[in-house]
Symmetry: C2
């Protein structure tokens, strides 16, 4: 299903990375903000206009280098409904530029409510006789603490619409072990049990390249678990956060990949978005600085895994 | 912190229930939809206008009976950014009518991203020199699979803004046991461990009535676990879904309450929203039919727990 499209795009660009679009106002050059505030005032509309302009500039420079973007919903919701409109417009712009879009919402619920999230982020909704596309991402991150009732409604939408999901398995944060590392009476850890469920759910969405439409989020900050899970979950594609700002290095993410250099996509957000600040680039050069960092990251990871053969 | 305000409102109205605002278009009377579509067409804007009008009518009739509303984010996101604007406007309208608002988003993430969700749903955000309130709910539902890194940023906002959270502990759905009931090597179940973390996190937000600002979601469909957790988690206020359409009855929710009739708020969504359809009421009577069902539910639960003494 839809993770096939991601995998093929990764192979085409020979780049197994995704750029996280987490646009806090602090990361946005002053010239973009002042233009937006001049038009809309210091309002949520003004903030949203700055977010969208910032993202469009990044997408223009990244689309020939990076196969996918991952907008993080929180940073758009933080600017209210105008921010959420900027999320919609960002997804549409990335699609226009040929990029795959992973909506990072970590959504979770059950039954008809989860169907509503599936329609919102991956599908469409009927309004009278008209079919409308609310956000139209290609894949959605999902928290499956509620079990199959929270995942099955997504599988249906993924099958119909050629979309995919990524389920949180072992997250990149320091406290991820508080619950995820607990050992179960039956043997194995909670995150391993979640991983096995991903393999199970994925059977409903087999892919052309050996990986199903149900991926897993596994953090770069836990390379041992990454390698262990790569072996145990042969049909589960990994979304790997935690590279760069959170401390994961290229050698840490290498265990996420299979012998063909496939099986994972590595996310970086702040290291790309804030490259212009970190490298002391001119404001107007922010998108080109992001692209230079994206190339550096691609080459660093490719040096570990070689070429990507699909 | 803010769950005190909920508890006091429950005592004032002697009603330990919350009305879930999950407005699918199917639940909305035709006269509201046709007026909205006439103005905005069969578009997401048209759907959102119908949602808001439906909610306002409900809030007008419920605000003197029910202490709180719980809008479920999924049903607003399903109608795109115009739907999310309707969520904002619904929260503002409920506040104008004196109701407590629990935003049911089951949000989860870490660090600065969770800070963004906290600002979005419970706090405020700086845009230039101006402070803006994105959504302004009073409490937020939260999925804590990521551990303390996903909860601590919320505690800070709750303390500053007098707000609260509800953490998913034992959800109401049939498959909730797939992960939540797994027995841990150290003893006890995963949901019990999550409950203990709620008591721990809640220590940062002590309340005036014995309950902290960190509540727990525990389903009406598991009355035995409800009673067990009420004893084990004496400072954790419960949000109890699963009453009504999902099968939970008044006797099932009784174990969620303490000896003073306090300690929990029971949610019903479809049984209230769709009361006009279920009772064969006239379309124009939809909000009064909802109020009649809300009174029936209040009286049924109060018959089990007696008066609420705070």
């Amino acid at each position: 299903m839809s993770l096939d499209r991601l995998i093929e795009k990764i192979a085409e660009l020979q780049n197994p990375t995704v750029a996280g679009l987490d646009p806090k106002l602090d990361y946005i050059p002053a010239f973009i903000k002042s233009a937006a505030f001049q038009q809309y005032g210091e309002t949520l509309e003004g903030a949203a206009a700055a977010l969208l302009e910032f993202n469009k500039g990044l997408i223009d420079e990244l689309c020939g280098i990076v196969p996918a973007v991952k907008p993080q919903c929180a940073y758009y919701e933080m600017y209210g409904w105008p921010g959420v409109k900027a999320l919609h417009d960002t997804i549409a712009y990335a699609h226009k530029k040929g990029m795959f879009v992973i909506t990072d919402g970590k959504r979770n619920d059950i039954g008809t409510t989860m169907e509503a999230y599936a329609a919102a982020h991956l599908g469409s909704v009927a309004v009278g006789q008209t079919n409308c596309v609310p956000f139209g991402g290609d894949a959605l991150t999902v928290n499956a603490y509620l079990g199959s009732d929270g995942v099955n409604p997504l599988l249906k939408t993924c099958e119909q619409e050629d979309k995919g999901i990524f389920v949180l398995v072992k997250t990149s944060n320091p406290s991820s072990g508080e619950l995820q590392d607990r050992m179960l009476e039956q043997g194995g850890s909670l995150y391993a049990a979640m991983g096995e469920l991903c393999e199970h759910w994925g059977q409903a969405l087999p892919g052309r390249h050996g990986y199903s439409g149900v991926g897993a989020v596994v953090g770069a900050t836990y390379p041992q678990q990454l390698g262990e899970l790569r072996v145990k979950l042969p049909h589960t594609f990994f979304l790997v956060p935690g590279y760069g700002a959170q401390g994961g290095a290229a050698k840490d993410v290498a265990p996420a990949f299979d012998a063909n250099g496939c099986g994972a996509v590595v996310n970086a957000s702040r290291s790309i978005l804030c490259a212009w600040q970190k490298t002391g680039a001119a404001q107007q050069d922010y998108a080109k600085a992001a692209a230079r960092e994206a190339v550096r990251m691609r080459d660093e990871i490719r040096a570990e895994i070689g070429s990507i053969r699909v």
